[in-house]
């Protein structure tokens, strides 16, 4: 079979352009698959590994204050394996050169030692020394945001008292992999810090001598978490227990889970679409490529080569390309995966990343891409082989010779080349249809990867222009009489103040629960709105609660049903509130009632937990400074910083992923269009050479070939837009979490940029074909039939 092998090598060489284009499609499909699953796997694996080796606890509880002696009774609860009591204190920090408010959480560790649970991973420096009360460990994210290092000084206000502390080290904890201020939706590393101090130091600073206000514990395997939680709650009840909860309600864990869920939606959906589209394209392209070899297949058959030998020959040809593309794809995918996981690490503060390439992932990707290519090849070989050689050796006959539809419709004045284009398309509708489908899939994929920016902008617009128009949000340390708002209004630059009352609570319907809160808004309002489906502001009714549509879906509750609420503060009343309506919200979820209604339900007077402020833009910094100085103010958030935090999170989590995919979708689009053009050229070169011989000019035959390409591309656009919209819809549905829901917003931009990429690919391919056309040697093209 020597001559056949020579043919293989020569064919590979002549087909190198197309081969590379096919390899690109394979490589991107495989790379996307490997990248997504490997990155997702790395995040999951790192989470598990960090949880395990840093002994992340399984149940957590907050309380007001209990004597250390209670710890023994807690440890005795059946099912508890290890239990640690801790002191936690809210703090405010001042960072030199940073004039904005910074809050944080100080958490105790045993004097000079690692805790038993939730052990710290020291990135730099060391634990505070046992007898030093002025040393502190700082969370890495915050330290990085301010470029703080061990040995630097830090001014911290604990319990209203100013303290000067020294940073002894930079640490990471399994409890704060996702470092976010409770109540916030997005992390803000420069304004929220986690600090670890010796227990002794924190006890004295926070007036907690011999007491604790936080418990973390692990369970024996097989122990019932719920039973332990119930028992712990009983024991903590007299000490102001705020309800024990498991990991699924632990803030960091819950955010990680939601983020991973979202990443997973994308990381499964996109690569499946990619590999599916690649598989389809590869199948079509391979089939078409082999069809150009139809006459040669017939010759081989005529000389007595059997089907196996011929199929093997072409399979080899294609497998070389598949192999090349796959190897490239696996390397690229692995490399991108490590980059991607690294980028997520900005966000998920894993002390280390566990990274592995699962052979099964790579093999699955290769099998799908390679299999589709092989099947496309084999079907074509089979089709050519099934024909009697005498027939297959002639060029494929044009099936029906008819005037085209357009001609028959009576449109006159078509030039001869135009007529040739139209006949070519109409005569081979399947081939034209597959080309159109291939190009439109490329368009759809571009949209799928490109639409998220527009959707996110829309989300922001709805959130910050329609719903939340306040310049600042102030939260008080505890619910306060409404009179306190006068003090805010009196600040120079404050134009308007709107108080709100919020209460953290467990919302329940049937057996589904959600740990969130109730928001009591005054009515009428001008700063913060809740929106209906048409995004119009709606009034909050006197009675009942309005739920975010997504929250209602999560709880399986509808308008008219009664929501069970376990308030998690104050006297912790249990309430039953009817659902009065649903509101549309893309970011976060909430349960909204009138402030007066909430106050009544909580059995308290006219209280507020904070206020929304409208502030003159040039006075924002000053107002901020003044608010900071008020003892009852726990925190201030500014519109700008919220928008930035949201933007950061989006660009870290979602757009990073999208960026890679846009690039890959672009390569696929290009490869598809180029391949289409190449094959059209191969199929037509004889005909075009003949036309040249008959006296057609070069521009005229270029028009025939390129006009066909252009026409196919244009026909593919509307279908591509439709496919793209469908794919985008599927993706948004798959990505809904209570953190945010990306709305399906397809802007003109999205359509235009998808169309542009494909058009540019068409033009570039056309240029390359133009060069090939210029070189089209009439004589040799006529001599040897390919």
């Amino acid at each position: 079979m020597r001559a056949l092998n020579i043919k293989l090598l020569r064919n590979l060489w002549t087909l190198k352009g197309q081969g590379i284009a096919i390899a690109v499609v394979i490589a991107t499909g495989v790379a996307m698959f490997v990248m997504s699953f490997t990155a997702l796997d790395a995040l999951r694996l790192s989470q598990q590994s960090v949880y395990q080796s840093q002994r992340f606890s399984e149940v957590f509880a907050n309380l007001k204050r209990a004597p250390e002696s209670l710890a023994e009774r807690l440890r005795a609860v059946p099912g508890v394996a290890t239990l640690e009591t801790r002191v936690q204190a809210p703090v405010k920090l001042q960072v030199p050169g940073f004039d904005q408010p910074v809050t944080g959480l100080a958490q105790s560790i045993p004097d000079g030692r690692q805790p038993q649970l939730n052990q710290l991973y020291l990135r730099a420096g060391q634990l505070p020394e046992a007898n030093r009360n002025d040393q502190v460990l700082l969370s890495e994210a915050f330290a990085e945001a301010h470029e703080l290092q061990p040995g630097d000084r830090l001014s911290v206000v604990i319990n209203g008292r100013y303290q000067a502390l020294w940073i002894s080290g930079i640490a990471l904890s399994p409890e704060y992999i996702y470092q976010i201020r409770p109540g916030d939706l997005f992390p803000d590393f420069s304004r929220y810090a986690i600090l670890w101090m010796n227990r002794d130091a924190l006890e004295s600073a926070f007036d907690m001598d011999g007491a604790f206000n936080n418990v973390a514990l692990t369970l024996y395997t097989g122990a019932s978490e719920q039973m332990v939680i119930d028992r712990v709650d009983q024991l903590l009840e007299p000490w102001g227990g705020l309800g024990a909860y498991g990991r699924e309600d632990q803030l960091s864990h819950r955010f990680i889970e939601q983020e991973l869920e979202q990443v997973a939606a994308m990381a499964v959906f996109l690569p499946l679409i990619f590999i599916g589209v690649s598989a389809f394209l590869l199948n079509v392209v391979a089939a078409r490529l082999i069809r150009t070899q139809r006459e040669q297949i017939a010759v081989l058959k005529a000389f007595g080569y059997d089907g196996v030998a011929v199929a093997g020959h072409y399979l080899m040809l294609v497998l070389v390309i598949v192999l090349f593309g796959s190897v490239l794809g696996v390397f690229l995918g692995t490399w991108l995966a490590s980059g991607l996981a690294g980028m997520y690490q900005e966000f998920f503060r894993f002390p280390w990343l566990e990274f592995r390439l699962k052979p099964s992932v790579a093999l699955t990707a290769i099998a799908i891409a390679g299999g589709a290519t092989a099947i496309g090849t084999l079907t074509s070989v089979y089709r050519a082989f099934r024909l009697p050689p005498a027939e297959a050796m002639r060029p494929e006959p044009p099936t029906h010779f008819r005037r085209t539809l357009i001609e028959r419709l009576g449109i006159r004045g078509l030039s001869q080349p135009t007529r040739i284009i139209l006949r070519n398309l109409e005569r081979q509708p399947i081939k034209a249809g597959l080309s159109i489908l291939g190009i439109s899939l490329a368009v759809g994929m571009m949209m799928l990867t490109g639409f998220q920016k527009g959707s996110i902008d829309y989300m922001m617009d709805v959130q910050f222009r329609l719903a939340q128009k306040q310049d600042m949000t102030v939260t008080f340390i505890e619910p306060t009489q409404r009179g306190a708002l006068h003090e805010l209004r009196a600040l120079p630059g404050v134009r308007y103040v709107e108080g709100f009352r919020s209460a953290s609570a467990i919302l329940q319907y049937g057996h589904r629960t959600y740990r969130g809160g109730l928001q009591g808004f005054s009515d009428p309002r001008s700063l913060v709105q809740v929106l209906d489906e048409q995004l119009q502001p709606i009034a909050i009714p006197d009675e009942g609660v309005l739920l975010t549509d997504h929250l209602a879906r999560m709880l399986g509750i509808g308008v008219g049903d009664t929501l069970q609420v376990k308030v998690q503060e104050g006297r912790q009343p249990e309430l039953a509130i009817p659902v009065a309506g649903l509101v549309t919200e893309f970011i976060g979820v909430g349960a909204y009632l009138r402030r007066e209604t909430l106050a009544r339900l909580l059995g308290e007077g006219d209280t507020v937990s904070g206020a929304f402020l409208a502030v003159e833009p040039e006075q924002v910094a000053e107002v901020n400074r003044r608010l900071e100085a008020m003892p009852r103010v726990a925190g201030v958030s500014q519109r700008e910083t919220m928008i930035r935090a949201f933007d950061d999170m989006m660009s870290d989590s979602m757009l990073v992923f999208t960026f890679f995919s846009v690039f890959m979708a672009g390569s696929i689009a290009f490869a598809v269009v180029y391949n289409n053009a190449r094959i059209a050229f191969a199929e037509r070169s004889r005909e075009l050479a003949t036309l040249r011989v008959l006296g057609f000019t070069r521009p005229e035959i270029a028009f025939i070939l390129l006009g066909e390409l252009m026409l196919l591309t244009l026909l593919a656009m509307p279908l591509g837009f439709l496919l793209g919209a469908g794919l985008c819809h599927l993706l948004t549905v798959g990505m809904q979490t209570d953190l945010y829901r990306v709305p399906l917003v397809l802007t003109a931009d999205t359509y235009a940029s998808a169309a542009l990429v494909v058009l540019v690919a068409t033009l570039l391919s056309a240029l390359m074909m133009g060069r090939a056309l210029a070189k089209l040697d009439m004589v040799s093209a006529l001599k040897s039939a390919e």
Binding site: I6, K7, V299, F303, A309, P388, A390, P397
Partner: protein, 241 residues
């Protein structure tokens, strides 16, 4: 060595062979009931007007196509009912074919185009020897696109004879050649026919060539219209056109 006068063993025969091509609504009757025989070792010329069905008949004899109705036998193999496996084997080991349109593989050189056949044959000639026989020893490493039409045709002939087939079916092997080269090619065919006892059928429009054949079969309009025996075939170098 087999001589033409040895007992006439029938190699091919067809009975009521028809071939209908269907082009949409239109039916083209290329063969309308052909009865013919080819005998072992003989040299036969097929004549007939353009479109009379010569190529179609030869293709069917060579197992490249099959009839619509009727029988085709190669020795005791019923080609019209043979399996793909048998047909492949038949083409691989028994038939040498020269196509009317040469059908060389463009990506292979002259030598490799011959090798593609000798690679799978039982006792083939060396490809360069086969090419030398048709006077192309200087052009072994040229691609089809670098050869003239006549040279391509000679490569096709070298490719057909290189496996030393039992039957050689040639569709206008000299159509593109000047008379001098044409005669050289016919001499090669004659030599293969004589020395190896290869049953040879040659389609031609050139009635002169019939003079070198032992028999002439004429097709008109899809039927055999005339069979003429030639008791004294002349040597190719005696032909003039």
């Amino acid at each position: 060595m087999v001589t033409p006068s040895s007992p006439r063993e029938r190699v091919f025969h067809t009975r009521a062979l028809t071939r209908v091509f269907r082009l949409g609504e239109v039916e083209i009757h290329a063969l309308r009931g052909v009865d013919m025989e080819l005998y072992a070792g003989e040299f036969v010329v097929l004549l007939g007007a353009s479109g009379s069905g010569k190529s179609t008949l030869l293709n069917i004899l060579g197992g490249l196509d099959s009839g619509t109705e009727g029988e085709v036998w190669y020795k005791d193999i019923d080609l019209s009912r043979a399996s793909e496996r048998v047909l492949t084997d038949f083409r691989r080991h028994h038939v040498g074919f020269v196509f009317q349109f040469y059908n060389l593989i463009p990506s292979l050189t002259a030598r490799e185009n011959v090798a593609i056949v000798t690679d799978i044959a039982r006792e083939p000639m060396d490809p360069s020897d086969a090419l030398a026989l048709v006077g192309l020893e200087q052009r072994l490493d040229h691609f089809p696109a670098q050869l003239s039409g006549g040279e391509q045709q000679r490569v096709a002939i070298a490719r057909a004879i290189a496996k030393k087939p039992d039957v050689l079916l040639c569709d206008e092997p000299t159509g593109a050649l000047d008379s001098k080269t044409g005669i050289k090619v016919l001499e090669v065919l004659r030599r293969i026919n004589r020395e190896l006892g290869t049953t040879t059928a040659v389609i031609t429009h050139n009635a002169v060539i019939a003079d070198m054949a032992e028999r002439m079969i004429r097709l008109s309009d899809g039927r055999v219209s005339e069979v003429t025996n030639n008791a004294h075939p002349v040597d190719p170098d005696q032909l003039h056109w």
